[in-house]
Symmetry: C2
Subunit: 219 residues, 2 copies
């Protein structure tokens, strides 16, 4: 990783056009060739960047980065205050816990958390317009399409509506009911769901996980 502290101006042209006036910034070049220009603020997002793969041509006072998609980044170096390179080696990567996929696994293992007597038909039930998170049957044997989110917002309800509309065209499944399940459901999403006859279920991640680990303890 090469780190440059320099007074510079930057032009980007590609998905849009952007210009950075002269100022002191950090220019980061990673081992994969990607280039990012950071100011001393503004969270983790760089002001400008260019992803790998690309071609980087470094002249003393001007760097040019281009790629095959026609994007172009040009850095004019007015004054370089620091220029260091460090060998970092490859990174073992990040372990995450608590994302939607994990939530889906837990609910799939415990569909009764949605309503007593609910059983799983299958996960990621495929349709032409995308996979339904869970397809279940309720205590009465009716089909239930389940959309699972960490944060339940209006988009998720609309996504579920599209699936329901699609699934209800299948005479073997209809009537299909909808359940919108999330760790947190925004008021607006709740209103839309009610309007569309979709039931909302708030999931307790820790509780679901503890049920699973309790079940494991039986073995």
């Amino acid at each position: 990783m090469r780190l440059l502290i320099a007074r510079c101006t930057v032009e980007y042209s590609g998905r849009l056009d952007a210009h950075l006036p002269e100022a002191i910034r950090l220019i980061m070049v990673k081992a994969d060739g990607c280039v990012a220009i950071h100011a001393d603020g503004g969270a983790f997002k760089p002001l400008n960047w260019m992803n790998a793969p690309n071609r980087l041509v470094c002249e003393p006072d001007r760097w040019r980065v281009t790629n095959d998609k026609g994007e172009r980044l040009e850095i004019v170096l007015v004054e370089v205050y620091s220029d260091t390179t460090h060998e970092l080696g490859s990174d073992p990567g990040l372990d995450k816990d608590g994302v939607e996929a994990h939530l889906q696994e837990l609910v799939a293992a415990h569909p009764e958390a949605l309503a007593d007597g609910t059983v799983l038909v299958r996960r990621e039930y495929p349709t032409d317009i995308g996979p339904v998170d869970l397809l279940c049957r309720d205590a009465h044997g009716a089909t239930v399409a389940v959309e699972i989110k960490r944060r339940g917002e209006i988009d998720g309800v609309e996504q579920l509506c599209r699936y329901l509309e699609y699934l209800n065209r299948d005479a073997r499944l209809t009537p299909v009911n909808g359940v919108f399940a999330a760790q947190e459901i925004k008021p607006q999403a709740r209103v839309l769901a009610a309007d569309r006859g979709i039931r909302c279920v708030v999931l307790d991640y820790d509780e679901l996980r503890s049920i699973t680990s309790d079940a494991l303890k039986l073995f």
Copy 2:
């Protein structure tokens, strides 16, 4: 801006839980207090981060970052290879051209690009559920609600559908037709638009801009 090159492990706990095994990484602390941990690849996104505002407590072998939302980032420093600080000063910021706002301006100036005889009623037409990008009248005097995007995806069509549903409740406006205009329209969005009776228009940004500059040359 403080830059640390160090062998470290990292734990994040908050919106999810995440763990980084021991490896050499860049730790960046910006003037606003935000902290980002970068590997030597993976474009501009850090492996882990903590946005400002937060509290950073640095011990020689352990940094703890916490905020008021209950998030927590803990960095264990196994070995520090480099530790530098640079004064960057404030940044004048980025000038952009070609974002959705510009596209909306251009179409507002040339509504005939949507269909011959189309005239603008107003931009950002307010409704209870948000502003409609453009409200127009077509050659027959019928009201047209226009949603403008750089990239037309399914969410944008849903957004327009909500506006149409709302606007059509107003007896003075109904029937309101929908136009979905974008520089690029994804297949799924096109299918949904067709299903909902919404017309799609592909916009040519450069052409729209050249019409405008041609018009300016007349003065």
